[in-house]
Symmetry: C2
Subunit: 431 residues, 2 copies
Amino acid sequence: MPTGVAILGCGTVGSAVAEMLLNEKLLLKKRAGRSFDLRHILVRDPARPRPGIPRRLLTTDAAKILHDPQVHIVVELMGGIEPAGTLIRQALSLGKRVVTANKHLLALHGVDVFRAARKAGSSVCFEASCGGAIPIVMALSRGLVANDIDRIIGIVNGTCNYILTRMSDGQTYAQALAEAQSAGFAEPDPTMDVRGTDSAHKLAILAALAFGVQVPFEKIQIQGIDSLDAVDLNYGRELGYVCKLLAIAEKINGYLSLRVHPAFVPRQHLLASVGGPFNAISVFGHASGQTLYYGRGAGGRPTASAVVADIVDSAMGTADVLFRELPALAGRSPARIMPPSAVVCRHYLRMQALDQPGSMHRITGVLGKKGISLAAVAQHESRQDSYVPLVVMTHEAGDGAVTAALRVLNRLNCVRGKVSHIRVIDPAQAV
Amino acid sequence: MPTGVAILGCGTVGSAVAEMLLNEKLLLKKRAGRSFDLRHILVRDPARPRPGIPRRLLTTDAAKILHDPQVHIVVELMGGIEPAGTLIRQALSLGKRVVTANKHLLALHGVDVFRAARKAGSSVCFEASCGGAIPIVMALSRGLVANDIDRIIGIVNGTCNYILTRMSDGQTYAQALAEAQSAGFAEPDPTMDVRGTDSAHKLAILAALAFGVQVPFEKIQIQGIDSLDAVDLNYGRELGYVCKLLAIAEKINGYLSLRVHPAFVPRQHLLASVGGPFNAISVFGHASGQTLYYGRGAGGRPTASAVVADIVDSAMGTADVLFRELPALAGRSPARIMPPSAVVCRHYLRMQALDQPGSMHRITGVLGKKGISLAAVAQHESRQDSYVPLVVMTHEAGDGAVTAALRVLNRLNCVRGKVSHIRVIDPAQAV
């Protein structure tokens, strides 16, 4: 008996899932041992042409879908908080299994959605919410189930990684963004991506899974890539680093630190080799040591690969068992979040310093006063300007101290404009 | 109610699993929602001191273990074909769930073992048989279940990768092997590792899973690293390549090509960055595109991480469902194997050629006659010798043609000794 499926939303991912269910029946039978009956697709405008998708499947009537007794699995691919959240809750209460790729909803309301699923004796699968085709939800919750997870470091936004890769090739931020948009790797409105919000959504989900806690989204420190200057990526490269937008969750002294920010990664590290639209997530377990998962983080077919795997899991009944049994999905206790200011790492600073006796002395004085010690300083020569670029690499220093120092430096007369600041991941930390 | 577990074998992995089950009860309760009761460990010599493992658990009596009604899961970590195979079959017929890390047994007799499990209505979990801590079995069979897999390229033997990494740093093969042995990364008898057999065992298992076929082990083309010369790794580096022992399974024109051999991988490729004892497996799915999985491929605790994940899956009952439902584990049809001679790739050749008019002409003549066209040739200068190193990089050429050409070249008067031959992975193929 084929399993009845309905899809809510028919954008890039929704239509890719529909096409797999419609056109790859033989493959699914061979690989998953199952047949699926795609019964409905919820759309806003049924008149819009959708090549390859039969018109009779399209409907604007959510109630019709949710009350179809032959729909076993509801696949939510609309995105956003509403109406997706309400439809998922209704589907669960009507006994449907739910599969979703909705990172935004789960990051903000995952605890509630999961509670509704448990109450209904059903399950919510969400492999496609993080890392596209990469089976990272499965790896964290099941493959590494025997591990106390210490740290997750990931590149989880393909748009930003594409832009940073192009900036490393010499483009400006604006050029790289425009190219990403025309190549289909960035949305017309890229705000959620380039400001780091999308990465933070995924981090919230991954951290909840890895650490078995409730993650308060608003406590995640978030900095995007939209204020980066290609000049700094160039200096970083000369120092042996590649700039990546990282999502980091780690246990530090009983606290959980959660942060999204650009960072310099040592060139020889695996994360530094992750180029273009790819994602990669490094997970450090107490028994496994480091494992890393790499693949396409977005796009119709890669994401559909994860959605259909979840549909198979739901149809087999294993999703229900895992959902009921694995405490990682219950998130019983709220996380104790470490204040961002207490996080310690090395820092790269670059400023335009007045080329005049005393400048260096004043700048290093500000850093010294905040307890920030210098690992390397390079003042570059300039013949056309009375201001010269001064690049500073610090030893490990608290984020709070550096932020405080930056406030002072930005007001010094001998510093022109704003000081560039990029955090640095040490090889020891990254490997 | 805790789930009863028995372990067969108490070597590096067996003792690590025992320690996790005995000492990490709180963690397992928190992460997996379960308690386990380790009831027996089968050993050869109960008198041998095993710190941290209570003497009362040790026994030499396999029948006692298999007939204990409170043992729900039998974990086979003895390795080798017998008595492991017989004990696994007995355990299955007595209604036990089996977890094993035994790649040797599964590569040669997996079809039989899985058939016995299905007949008994039980399951065999084997995540730890390939890639140590990396959840690659789960990724191939479940995470990528919606994909038609085109190709797997992996570094699946940590011993060889450690040796090759050290050889790239300038050591000879013998030095690197000795160091690997003293660092605990190579067995006292490293034959199975360095000759490629262990990699082929893992490839047989991964290919069966990925392609849903029976893999005839004896048809895998196997070449190890024990005849590599560090000189060639050095020339390769100058050309932008890193040498890795690769296990490759790929579909070519309806056939399955299965091979283990050293290969030059482009430096910028992710597999080139996999150093020391780490493993990495690249999988190309028709929907997912490339995904890659990286982690520690051996060692007590990393492997125990995978074994305990399987124990959890068995205890939850999900292993039984997956085993029953997923055709990938049934391997119904035998694979149509492509003859190794038909595989096409680029080739690196290096020979000591007589520094005399006509040498180059005769050598290139041999290659031309076999239809092998040259992409690059470099003859290095030598002042002390009448023979000079000649390095040839071919365009794509069939393995059979190159093998035939090597036979001729090795007999030429103007070539001293044996021609070095390393296959080359192209960037396009690798990414």
